[in-house]
């Protein structure tokens, strides 16, 4: 329970950097703790994820202010992140054959997801990974349901296109 995994999951996907994601979650929990008295009969999870999201966006803005170019560090840490997620995922898979297939799919998937803009990434994470309803996603990202629906639609189309591109590259490399 705790929603700590959900909070961390969202922060990690938005920031794509482990240490930064952990700092953001801690920051969000401290804010939530101070604001807890204001929570009245709402679901804790969407409320908490809204705070996590706001903290992450502030951090993303700060990063952008610090440098206008895409930093090499970010690209590198994204790769490292992808590799260790893969390691975590394969830790409890049953057979070596399946490992190979799943690991390669997971890598492509993580790369494709990381390549989406944050606004697309967050709706995918909230809907597909946290399994929230469109209403809850709309509340968290502060947009109307219709906007969430079209954003999610474009995010899925783009994710699929990116995965197909990456898989095609893999095949070419293999040959």
């Amino acid at each position: 329970m705790a929603h700590l995994d959900a909070a961390h999951n969202l922060a990690f996907h938005l920031l794509r950097e482990r240490a930064d994601a952990q700092d953001a979650v801690q920051d969000a929990y401290v804010r939530a703790y101070r604001a807890f008295a204001q929570l009245q009969g709402e679901d804790i999870k969407p409320w908490l994820l809204t705070i996590v999201r706001n903290v992450c966006y502030r951090r993303l803005q700060e990063r952008r202010r610090m440098s206008n170019v895409i930093s090499l560090d970010e690209t590198l840490s994204t790769r490292a992140g992808a590799a260790s997620i893969e390691a975590e995922c394969t830790a409890n898979t049953p057979s070596p054959e399946q490992n190979a297939i799943r690991a390669s799919d997971a890598t492509v998937l993580t790369q494709a997801l990381a390549a989406l803009p944050p606004a697309f990434r967050e709706v995918i994470v909230l809907r597909e990974l946290e399994e929230l309803s469109y209403r809850e996603v709309a509340d968290i990202v502060g947009a109307p349901i219709g906007t969430v629906m079209s954003r999610l639609s474009r995010a899925r189309a783009e994710l699929r296109a990116l995965m197909m591109k990456l898989l095609a590259q893999d095949n070419n490399n293999a040959m």
Partner: protein, 261 residues
């Protein structure tokens, strides 16, 4: 419907978020259009792969770190500034938050005591009645453990017999996977001064604890919902059995489950 429009709506169609009319036009189109059908299948595969590989859970050390940070600000809280009543309410909630944050640090026992203390405050303030508190406590406690069940199985033929001889009343266990409430398992708990069987179902990522015990003297009653601390508690009686369901699931889906049980 044109393919362009269909492809815009494919995701929402797969998520079951379309209105009846749109859903029907989509189905009609998908019956005859392979291209759109292929994309829908891809979305399904990508969704499943994401669920399997995409979730990046918090490392255990983070819970401990946050617990320490919360302890720190607790000591800094300007208690003189706060109204006594507000302070009271805050104290109860504070314990909850700490319970959440520390779970992964294997301090389940400490959390349990914390939660009990918090609930004692709440009780003293007369904020919730005893039964609601017992059920919610049991629900929260189950979520703090490694597993909310003592017998884990999605087959009712494994779960139902497990209760035999463990309680004086064997709770009904149903297979509701097709209705979107897969069975997680069963356990024993202690609610309202008695040992009760609890059947645990799941909806998406939400756990639902269903408590039931015999109450031959009570008349049938319609489901009544209350929200406590962001959790929904649904209670009803049927054929001499009292039911309580607890979850962070929304009230509409809670009611759906009560109709199925």
């Amino acid at each position: 419907m044109q393919c362009d429009r269909v492809q815009e709506l494919l995701g929402a169609y797969g998520d079951g978020e379309l209105s009846g009319d749109e859903r029907r036009s989509m189905s009609t189109h998908l019956e005859s259009c392979k291209a759109c059908g292929d994309i829908l299948a891809d979305y399904g595969r990508i969704g499943r792969a994401l669920k399997r590989h995409g979730r990046v859970c918090a490392p255990p050390v983070l819970a401990a770190r946050i617990g320490a940070a919360l302890d720190q600000i607790e000591s800094e809280l300007p208690s003189a500034v706060l109204q006594p009543a507000r302070r009271f309410a805050l104290a109860g909630r504070v314990f909850d938050m700490r319970g959440f944050a520390r779970r992964a640090a294997s301090l389940a026992a400490a959390c349990f005591i914390g939660a009990l203390a918090a609930w004692n405050f709440v009780d003293a303030a007369g904020q919730s009645d005893r039964m609601e508190r017992d059920v919610l406590n049991a629900h929260m406690r189950s979520l703090l453990q490694e597993s909310p069940v003592q017998v884990a199985s999605n087959d009712k033929h494994n779960v139902q017999p497990w209760f035999a001889g463990r309680t004086d009343f064997a709770p009904a266990v149903k297979d509701l996977a097709e209705d979107g409430f897969p069975l997680v398992g069963g356990r024993l708990d202690y609610v309202a001064d008695r040992r009760v069987g609890v059947v645990v179902y799941k909806r998406g990522l939400h756990m639902i604890n269903v408590f039931m015990w015999p109450s031959p003297s009570s008349a049938d009653s319609a489901p009544r919902i209350v929200t406590r601390k962001g959790y929904n508690l649904l209670s009803w009686s049927r054929s001499g059995v009292s039911y309580w369901a607890a979850s962070d699931l929304n009230s509409e889906e809670m009611r759906t489950l009560s109709r199925l049980l």
